[in-house]
Amino acid sequence: MASENPDRAHAVAFTLNGEAVRAHVPARMHLGDLLRQSFGLTGVHLGCEHGVCGACTILVDGRAVRSCLMLGVQADGATVETVEGLTESGRIRDLQDAFHARNALQCGYCTPGMLVTAAELLDDADAATSREAIRAAIAGNYCRCTGYHAIVDAIASTAEARGQGRRDAGRDAGLEAAE
């Protein structure tokens, strides 16, 4: 466990893509490097390493964060999910299919960060998913191919499909309640 005492390296234990893991990590190493180098999760892409490009975005305790702006040692006790974990769980299958169908991938460098950012947006039932809201949500993720339009298309179509599902579920629930 990360110590209350100052040290240049710490033992950490956390949940990574559903599995309990341990590591010994230098204090100066950011979480993105820890995930790539110690756990081989190279879907975590590092672009700018100062929080601007968004390629390294992951989920920590269910929320999107920049893995380059968190230290590896700070993952101690947390639940961490990378694009690999989200893929294996099938949680973003529809989103990934939409990225493929809409040609929102291009070179693919920004894609993991885009998917994680979009996953959080789409999970938030209260979030607006207009194209304007989607653009605001992904404004912190750079696409160097400038493929934004197709990416917004993919997220919007996923939101629409899921929204339709939610409305159907709501209607069914309403019918059941009425019966």
């Binding site: 100052p6 204090a27 100066r28 490097d33 390493e49 920049r66 950012t117 959080e120 605001a136 404004a139």
Partner: protein
């Protein structure tokens, strides 16, 4: 780039954190959300010997009503994340100015991690929370080796990244007075791209009176080395003179010239957003037409 070598500690209590900061002096730096500090480390703009991580100190988190029997204060723990500040029910009901500012703070991933106390302690002059503190007449609660003290926002922000914090002190909370029923507020920010630092922004509070607006506090940001209260513009606006208020800004704001935006442009934009905010405050609808989503 990669951060330089440093030691790290994650104390579980405020007292333990303050003891570490006292023991290590200038070599130690408190780590809040890290959304500016880790950037500075990665870019080798900062090289502390020790980071004292405040993320495991429960007493620094949360939004609550304070002020005892008299009430009237919302206390926000310094380590409360931007997103949790803006979405807290108490904030949305009592401090709508803060909820309106939230969507302008960087991007979702940054808002999920960055903290209000970290932002206030850093005192970047182009950021939203310091200006909101100034507009709302908040007090910054500070702890150090000595007793807890409260610094009015008017006195806290002293210059570029410079505050009233003494060595060994940290921000523990921010206390906002709850506005009365006749309160009005406004928030507006212009940036090059959504989520970027403000070219110019305005956080404003006041009261609606029979004659118009009164008790106005117009806190501009992105136009000086700290958030600035435009008092002459406020006086003109209270007198019902919007054009006079806009003209007064030339004497009150001294925006920086930078390679992409001339000072004159920022001053012009400040007048534009003052016009928008004033119109909404006078019209009774303080809600800005900003980006939706949080």
């Amino acid at each position: 780039m990669k951060a330089p070598d440093f030691a790290y500690a994650r104390p579980a209590s405020l007292d333990a954190a303050l003891a570490l900061l006292a023991e290590h002096g200038e070599d130690a730096v408190p780590l809040a959300g890290g959304q500016s500090l880790v950037t500075a480390l990665n870019m080798r703009l900062s090289a502390p010997g020790l980071l004292v991580d405040l993320n495991a100190i429960p007493e620094l988190t949360g939004v609550s009503e304070a002020g005892g029997e008299a009430g009237g204060i919302v206390r926000i723990g310094a380590m409360t994340r931007h997103r949790d500040v803006g979405t807290a029910a108490l904030v949305r009901e009592r401090l709508p100015l803060l909820a309106a500012a939230l969507p302008h703070i960087a991007h979702p991933a940054i808002r999920n991690r960055g903290t209000i106390g970290g932002s206030v302690a850093l005192a970047d002059p182009a950021t939203e929370w310091p200006a909101c503190c100034l507009a709302a007449g908040a007090s910054i609660v500070v702890r150090g080796p000595g007793a807890e003290r409260r610094v009015p926002a008017d006195d806290f922000f002293q210059g570029l990244y410079t505050t009233a914090l003494e060595p060994g002190e940290i921000v523990t909370a921010i206390e906002f007075p709850v506005p009365g029923a006749d309160a009005v507020w406004g928030f507006e920010e212009l940036s090059r791209r959504h989520g970027d630092y403000a070219l110019v922004g305005l956080a404003a509070t006041g009261r609606r009176s029979a004659g118009g607006l009164s008790d106005l506090r117009l806190a501009f940001f992105g136009v000086a080395d700290r958030p600035v209260l435009a008092r002459d513009a406020a006086a003109a606006l209270e007198a019902g003179d919007l054009a006079g208020a806009q003209a007064a800004l030339a004497g009150e704001l001294d925006p920086p010239d930078d390679p992409t935006t001339k000072a004159a442009t920022r001053l012009h934009l400040a007048r534009v957003i003052l016009g928008r905010v004033a119109a909404r405050m006078r019209g009774g609808s303080a809600q800005e037409d900003g980006p939706d989503g949080v």
